[in-house]
Symmetry: C2
Subunit: 173 residues, 2 copies
DNA sequence: CATCTCTTTCAGTAATTATCGAAACTTCAA
DNA sequence: TTGAAGTTTCGATAATTACTGAAAGAGATG
């Protein structure tokens, strides 16, 4: 009969491994997703060396991805008194995780698209041929939509948890 | 002085090229995003050969990505009477584009995560150690959130065009 | 049933992205 | 200072993903 501790380890390992696989499908790299999963399910903050050992990865890889997760706001750096080493702990609140991801993705995905669309709209403004006008209209529709999505992201990012959920339910419930 | 047609071509080429670059940042490949941009801004449906020529890509590449876009529901295959060749035309309605993307991403990203989380929840149910309980709670929180997101996606997918957008715009200004 | 037109597949190659491992750098304390 | 402990960088390599080009397949038509 398997002990609870053993079963927990096993389940957790599976979670970490699979979360990594999924990460690759969401466009983030495997290691980053694995580290995130590892830290979300570790009761204590972990050091770079502990992460390296747990996932069997190199120091460079661990370092790069830990720092990237800190940039995303998904991990915090913590220190222990009297120690120089840095430890990392995960944000555990799911709404907060969601907000950080929304914010980062907006910055990376929506903002550049908006710039491009605005530019194409301006360039094609006042065109008189059928093709030119159709192009302008399409750019305008896309711009309006992305602009809308962008605004929504901002709102989500600056809204207290419960409220966001209520609003979402109101819109879609 | 540049003619309107020349300027349109130039702007459109820039749109296609940049949309491609952005595609890579959204986790879809450059060619797929470029083809999508090309067809969204082409007044007529295009054949595989026309796409190949316009983007300077191979037949295999064009074929694969056209079919992938059809799978996503972002392109339709159309035929001309008396011709055997297939032509492709883009869905132009932004709300419809959004719905197709949401639906596809839910299937690829949310559903597998849900399976994993449900499984981890079940496995850790009833654990008694502090670590086991914490793990179970974290899995539960994540599961609840992803489940909620999944439901939201379904709602979006079955909502009439424009209606939600208008309501949301009203609420968000 | 031979051939023409168009579509699909796929093995090989190119391009991109992730990872390693070691060296360089930084900081602190003896 | 010097060295120990820890962090960061980076060139080389591995792994993954995208693309090509050619060949095979699938219908239609005479």
């Amino acid at each position: 009969m398997k002990g609870e501790a053993a079963k927990l380890n096993e389940t957790r390992d599976r979670f970490v491994a699979q979360w990594g696989v999924m990460g690759t499908q969401w466009g983030i790299n495997r290691t980053m997703a694995q580290i995130h999963a590892l830290l979300m399910t570790n009761p204590e903050p972990m050091s770079t060396d502990e992460v390296m050992e747990e996932l069997h990865i190199s120091r460079g890889n661990a370092h790069t991805n830990l720092k990237e997760l800190v940039n995303w706001g998904l991990l915090r750096i913590v220190t222990r008194k009297g120690e120089r080493k840095e430890y990392f702990e995960a944000e555990l609140d799911v709404w907060e995780i969601f907000r950080r991801i929304v914010k980062e993705r907006k910055r990376r995905e929506l903002d550049p698209a908006l710039d491009l669309l605005e530019d194409c709209m301006t360039e094609s403004k006042g065109m008189t041929t059928a093709g030119g006008r159709a192009f302008h209209e399409q750019m305008k529709s896309l711009e309006e939509f992305v602009h809308f999505a962008s605004k929504m992201s901002d709102r989500v990012g600056s809204m207290p948890h419960g409220k966001t959920m209520k609003l979402a339910l109101k819109l879609f419930g």
